[in-house]
């Protein structure tokens, strides 16, 4: 989770794919700010998790 985003070589398209898959899987809508920046993979996961109701309550 501490792996820097820059080292996993994902681009804007990969981010869109991940967001879409999470939306489909958890039947939710993820509305990240357009200027979102993530230092680590963990930052990205935590940002997404906020939009998953069950996970958000955990």
């Amino acid at each position: 989770m501490d792996t820097p985003i820059s080292s996993v070589k994902i681009d804007s398209i990969d981010v869109i794919h991940v967001v879409f898959k999470v939306e489909e899987e958890f039947n939710t809508t993820i509305d990240l700010p357009q200027d979102s920046k993530f230092e680590t993979v963990g930052d990205f996961v935590r940002a997404l998790t906020k939009f998953i109701p069950a996970a958000g309550q955990a």
Binding site: I13, I16, H17, V19, F20, E23, E24
Partner: protein
């Protein structure tokens, strides 16, 4: 002013007639037909029986690209962002880039242009996206928009070869590829670029698209028979044809082999009916191609026709050729390879330019297949009997599109001077 011709130094193709230029040329010049029955019920959307019956295609023949496995040519993450027409274009562009020798020794990237013609763009992705939305009540796939863009193929090719010059798409229905080629010529002449990847790509075999063509009533239930008595309409094909073109100075400086020379072209508009052409626009395109190229009429030894197989287009195209060439029309071979590979829409002009170049190189003109009987309304020599040996130095290739958008390209053998 001496016209500025440009050199063709690379070619690539994906077609029902072949997945590389060698096979495509062999098949086209041999007069092989690739129009065949396909499963007209495939992809029919779910619905009540009476609706399905109403949606059923009237025609069941076409010339789809067969045996192309995109997974062999693109990584999964790349493939997930490419509509089929972009896959076709990228696949063909790699062949052209390699034949030009740029895979080993690439040109200055900021001097490279990419112009790709497409009539349909990424319509397959739109179909999938709207089906998810309206039938499945799910969100469209997230890359629906960038995958459907007409410029998606050009962007993909630019990324693969590192082209940092002018990169964009042309879209003018069935003249899209020819407009792309001519635009590339203009860019090279103007000094905006030294090298250009040009051509066209379209994928056509999904149910929605085929059904929409059926509604227009110009697709024949028979088979494409250009210029023949008894012709009833066009047959749908698909594919991609790509070229690397470069200025003569650039090609000579690096010792590149010129395959053929693009001498110029004519681009005109009917400014008239959306689907019924006006022969005057065709005539002006032919005349303008001669003027722009500086080629005297007597030097033209072959015309690769647009030749859709529709009643009106073929009659008007034949008339336009006769208007321009007069009595010499009787000694001017003409053929339409749409009788072999169908109408590849926005790619057709590129595939037909490939065939025209093959004719110049081999000294053999392809036949017009499925020809039954001479139509008095099409008084031209359409090469009905089979491949014909012809030794020529220059030829024309016509693309006359819906919307009255006309392009004629003029091309010569590599050893011909202006």
């Amino acid at each position: 002013m001496v016209p500025r011709w440009v050199e063709i130094t690379g070619r690539g193709v994906l077609s029902s007639a072949g997945h590389d230029v060698t096979e495509f040329n062999r098949s086209i010049l041999a007069g092989e037909g690739h129009i065949a029955p396909f499963d007209a019920d495939a992809g029919t959307p779910p619905g009540p029986p009476e609706a399905i019956a109403a949606l059923k295609l009237r025609f069941n023949k076409g010339a789809p690209v067969v045996g192309f496995t995109p997974e062999k040519h693109f990584e999964p993450r790349v493939l997930s962002g490419l509509d089929r027409f972009s896959q076709f274009a990228a696949f063909a562009s790699r062949q052209a880039w390699k034949e030009a020798g740029f895979d080993v020794d690439p040109p200055a990237s900021d001097r490279v242009a990419v112009i790709i013609g497409t009539a349909n763009a990424g319509h397959e992705v739109i179909g999938v996206g709207w089906h998810r939305l309206y039938i499945d009540a799910r969100k469209p796939m997230p890359l629906t928009i960038p995958m459907t863009m007409a410029s998606a193929a050009a962007s993909r090719i630019a990324r693969e070869i590192g082209a940092h010059g002018p990169v964009f798409a042309t879209s003018s229905a069935c003249a899209s590829a020819a407009h792309a080629v001519m635009t590339g010529v203009i860019l090279l002449r103007s000094g905006q670029a030294d090298v250009a990847v040009v051509g066209g790509s379209d994928s056509c075999f999904d149910f929605g698209y085929l059904r929409a063509w059926d509604a227009l009533r110009v697709v024949t239930t028979d088979i494409c028979r250009p210029f023949s008595k008894g012709r009833q309409g066009l047959t749908i094909g698909e594919g991609a044809g790509l070229f690397v073109i470069e200025t003569t100075e650039h090609a000579r400086a690096r010792g590149a082999r010129s395959i053929a020379r693009l001498a110029g072209g004519g681009m005109t508009s009917d400014a008239g009916d959306l689907t019924t052409p006006d022969g005057r626009g065709m005539t002006r395109a032919l005349r303008e191609a001669l003027r722009d190229s500086g080629l005297a009429m007597e030097r033209i030894g072959y015309v690769n026709a647009h030749g859709t197989g529709t009643l009106i287009n073929d009659r008007l195209e034949a008339d336009a050729i006769r208007q321009v060439f007069g009595g010499a029309t009787d000694r001017l071979p003409v053929s339409s390879i749409k009788s072999s590979i169908g109408h590849a829409m926005g790619a057709s002009g590129a595939l037909e330019l490939l065939a025209t170049i093959a004719t110049l190189e081999a000294g053999v003109a392809p036949p017009t297949l499925n020809y039954k009987e001479r139509d008095p309304d099409c008084p031209i020599d359409v090469i009905p009997e089979g491949p014909r040996k012809i030794q020529i130095e220059a030829a024309l290739s016509n693309s006359f599109a819906f919307g009255g958008l006309n392009v004629t390209l003029a091309v010569t053998r590599a050893d011909v001077n202006n």
